[in-house]
């Protein structure tokens, strides 16, 4: 092998289309990671395994962009915030909240939930009405909040499955030309009156709060119109927004892959070069040890290690390193065997330089191009192995990695139920990340080993 200067490598690399593609992919992945770290608060991914956090989201909903490709528009999941109007007359204070929903889909919403939190004293009357696009006003519910003498904070969720709502609607059932008694509330109120089809248009939920004397304060209130499409990447069985999991998986995967690759290449390089340079018995002993590690079946051991010791992500990175430096050590040993016979190395030795200095100053720099190529090539293996461990459910549960998303998909039978948006993106991301590093590695490899190019 001849020595290559950095400029040579840069120049050659610039000519390789694959290498450039790889670089572009990786830089965009890094961009994604940075943007994620800035825009998506870290608390959301720490709450990944906390089901309460995701209650407002729909279950296994399809990504919204699917609607652009289908004729039948799937109802989107909407979280609507109100438009508040306040007025008072004769000591009765009225707070009217209007929730606008533009409903242009071909299927009924699955449900709606009115969620609110207010601070009030005495009693408090809430009435919920729905104004339909055809002008019909449906009275849904009137309810009083529990009386309290002191100021209290009250939190409630009113579901569309509430028996009172159904009862109130049944009083108006005669306007519908068909039998509504066995239908769900959403199927009735969002239906055309002549036949049971979705009535498209602007719906307005009006929530009026009446109270006497005192002014209350609505801390937060919203209506969740349950649909079957949500977010850019859809949601999973536990209502988690997959986009967040996938976004946060990117920096994690890069971190795992790159740190394992760098760590194992450095260890392997130093180990191999030292062994080759020393020769004789040291070499023999070190290579036997190398053989032992080489002959250990890696995955079973990784599994045992992560089960018995710990499945913390940092330890898993360490375990992955244990099994991935071996091959690099072998190759760098054989390379250092060649280099150590070169005259300048011998000259340095005769001059009485220390072994460590010869190794780090004269031999390892010669191997650096090879080292970079092998770092790039060993990243995908690290990422896939970690994803594999996570897929078996042995990953670090505090971090949502791509492998873990796939693990959840597998446990909830995503393939059987056709939730493609839960299976395809994580795997594709794993593959793309791996591919980018392989591209770069191959481009470097072709420069370092010119024999392959022909």
């Amino acid at each position: 092998m001849s020595s290559l200067s950095t400029d040579d490598i840069k120049h050659e690399f610039g000519k390789s289309v694959l290498g450039i593609t790889g670089l572009i992919i990786i830089s965009s992945l890094i961009m994604i990671s940075v943007i994620t770290a800035i825009t998506v608060p870290a608390s959301t991914f720490q709450e990944w395994n906390n089901p309460e956090k995701w209650l407002d989201y729909p279950k296994t909903s399809i990504p919204i962009w699917v609607n652009y490709f289908t004729l039948e528009k799937i109802p989107e999941h909407k979280i609507i915030t109100p438009n508040v109007i306040q007025s008072n007359s004769d000591n009765v204070y009225l707070v009217s909240q209007q929730f606008f929903a533009d409903f242009e889909y071909d299927d009924f919403p699955s449900d709606f939930v009115y969620e609110f939190k207010t601070r009030y004293t005495n009693s408090h009357l809430v009435s919920v009405n729905l104004i339909r696009p055809d002008g019909i006003v449906m009275h849904l519910l009137t309810t009083t909040l529990p009386f309290s003498e002191n100021e209290t904070i009250y939190k409630q969720r009113i579901f569309s499955t509430d028996a009172m709502i159904k009862k109130n609607i049944m009083m108006k059932s005669n306007i519908f030309a068909f039998d509504v008694s066995k239908m769900t509330v959403t199927d009735i109120v969002f239906s055309d009156i002549s036949e049971n089809k979705v009535l498209k248009g602007n719906y307005t939920f009006v929530v009026n709060t009446y109270e006497v004397d005192s002014k209350s304060e609505i801390i937060n209130s919203r209506i969740i119109l349950g649909g079957k499409a949500f977010g850019f990447m859809g949601t999973d069985e536990l209502r988690r927004d997959l986009a967040i999991g996938l976004l946060w998986g990117t920096p994690l995967a890069l971190f795992i892959g790159v740190s394992v690759a760098i760590g194992s290449v450095i260890v392997g390089l130093v180990y191999g070069v030292y062994s080759g340079y020393k020769g004789k018995k040291t070499d023999e002993a070190m290579m036997r040890f190398n053989d032992v590690i080489y002959a250990l079946p890696a995955l079973p051991f990784l599994i045992i290690l992560s089960v018995t010791i710990s499945n913390s992500i940092f330890l898993i990175i360490g375990f992955l390193m244990i099994f991935s430096w071996v091959g690099i050590a072998k190759i760098s040993r054989s390379m250092s065997l060649q280099i150590k016979t070169r005259q300048y190395v011998e000259a340095a030795r005769i001059m009485g330089q220390k072994d460590s200095k010869i190794i780090f100053k004269h031999i390892i720099p010669q191997l650096l191009p090879y080292a970079f190529a092998s770092i790039a090539i060993s990243v995908p293996a690290a990422i896939t192995t970690e994803a594999g461990l996570s897929f078996l459910g042995l990953g670090d549960p505090t971090f949502p990695t791509w492998g873990q998303i796939l693990h959840d998909a597998n446990t909830y039978g995503a393939a059987a139920q056709g939730f493609w948006w839960w299976i395809i993106p994580p795997g594709l991301l794993i593959a793309i990340t791996g591919l980018a590093f392989v591209f770069i590695g191959n481009a470097l490899d072709a420069i370092v080993n010119p024999k392959l190019k022909r």
């Binding site: 694959l18 036997r288 053989d291 032992v292 002959a295 250990l296 079946p297 890696a298 995955l299 079973p300 051991f301 599994i303 045992i304 290690l305 089960v307 018995t308 010791i309 995908p380 896939t384 994803a387 594999g388 897929f391 078996l392 459910g393 042995l394 796939l406 998909a409 597998n410 393939a415 059987a416 056709g418 493609w420 299976i423 395809i424 994580p426 795997g427 794993i430 593959a431 791996g434 591919l435 392989v438 591209f439 191959n442 024999k451 392959l452 022909r454």
Partner: protein, 338 residues
């Protein structure tokens, strides 16, 4: 080679040893307590609960002492004994898992599972290597041609996809969207029935296709790279000049010379795929070693874990050994003596 086996064993035993002890001790405590409470006369003979507790504790200690659990698991004689037993292929009894025929002996369970793993992965490796060698040879004979570039690209792309993810997609597409193959690879009829083999093969198709699909690309690429090296050598050039048919040169002469490294990698990849089998089998629910291992890990069935790790290592070492032998057979240069 034997040393490697010993190290593997030692590591496995060391890693699971302390857990094994805790589980065994808890088992004994439970056993002793239930024995005593089942026998009301013993309970009645005690007047105050403290004495009774003392008596129970004493019984437990006695039992632990007779089983040799009072010395820690890392004491030399216990480790030595455990390892000796495993080396004689006596893995003891599984804690939770049983074989299909109901035996809980780890040896029986393993014997039932090994053939299935070997069947799936050996078949896959054979198919992969045949396709790979032919494709690799073809693309190396025309470097830079369409075939060559297609092979290389496919190799790079396919190698970065995780097999199990492709497996999930395959299940999704071929078992649910188009219902051609079964989703679970475990045959649904009893092994004793006549149609079992056919059913097994039918259930094997989907995992087989997946493994082959992912594997053959990188194989072809590897063979191609070895072949490129050989094709540059002088004797090939000489043969070309002599006017020998190019196909004959590639498949007869060049391939023969590239054989030693190819065979080595073949043996290694075969054994490597055994390790990877854990995830693949978990996805396809193929009733082999890998799934057994996964199940054992999830319920912490330690004898099974130790046994299957040992067997996996043995298989791995056997294939390394065979590859060494084959290397000598194909490459006369490494033969020593007469």
């Amino acid at each position: 080679m034997f040393g490697v086996l010993l190290v593997t064993l030692l590591l496995t035993v060391a890693l699971v040893g302390s857990n094994m002890d805790t589980i065994l001790k808890q088992g004994i405590i439970f056993q002793v307590r239930s024995e005593i409470t089942d026998n009301p006369s013993i309970v009645k003979s005690f007047t105050n609960p403290e004495d009774f507790e003392k008596f129970v504790q004493q019984k437990i200690d006695e039992r632990i002492g007779t089983l040799g659990l009072d010395t820690p698991w890392y004491s030399p004689q216990r480790i030595g004994y455990t390892m000796l037993k495993i080396m004689m292929l006596d893995f003891g009894n599984a804690t939770f898992l049983t074989s299909d025929s109901g035996s809980s002996n780890v040896g029986d369970i393993l014997l039932e599972k090994i053939p299935k793993t070997v069947l799936l992965f050996t078949t896959a490796t054979i198919i992969i290597s045949i396709i790979g060698i032919l494709l690799g040879a073809a693309s190396s004979s025309k470097i830079g041609s369409k075939t060559d570039r297609l092979t290389s690209t496919f190799a790079i792309i396919s190698s970065s996809f995780p097999v199990w993810w492709i497996g999930m997609l395959m299940i999704f597409v071929f078992a649910f969207v188009y219902q051609i193959f079964p989703a679970r690879a475990t045959p649904d009829i009893e092994p004793s029935e006549p149609g079992y083999i056919i059913s097994l093969l039918y259930h094997m198709t989907l995992p087989l296709i997946t493994i082959v699909l992912i594997g053959f690309g990188s194989w072809a690429y590897l063979v191609r790279n070895f072949m490129v090296g050989v094709m540059q050598e002088d004797f090939i050039t000489a043969k070309k000049i002599m006017g020998i048919n190019k196909k004959k040169i590639v498949y007869r002469h060049a391939l023969k010379n590239a054989a030693p490294p190819i065979v080595t990698v073949l043996a290694l990849s075969l054994s490597g795929s055994l390790g990877g089998a854990i995830i693949t089998e978990a996805v396809f629910d193929w009733p082999g070693m890998g799934r057994l291992y996964f199940e054992a890990i999830s319920v912490m069935d330690l004898p099974v874990i130790i046994g299957s790790t040992y067997i996996l290592t043995v298989l791995f070492l056997i294939s390394i050994f065979i590859s060494d032998l084959l290397y000598g057979y194909f490459d006369p240069r490494v033969r020593t003596g007469t």
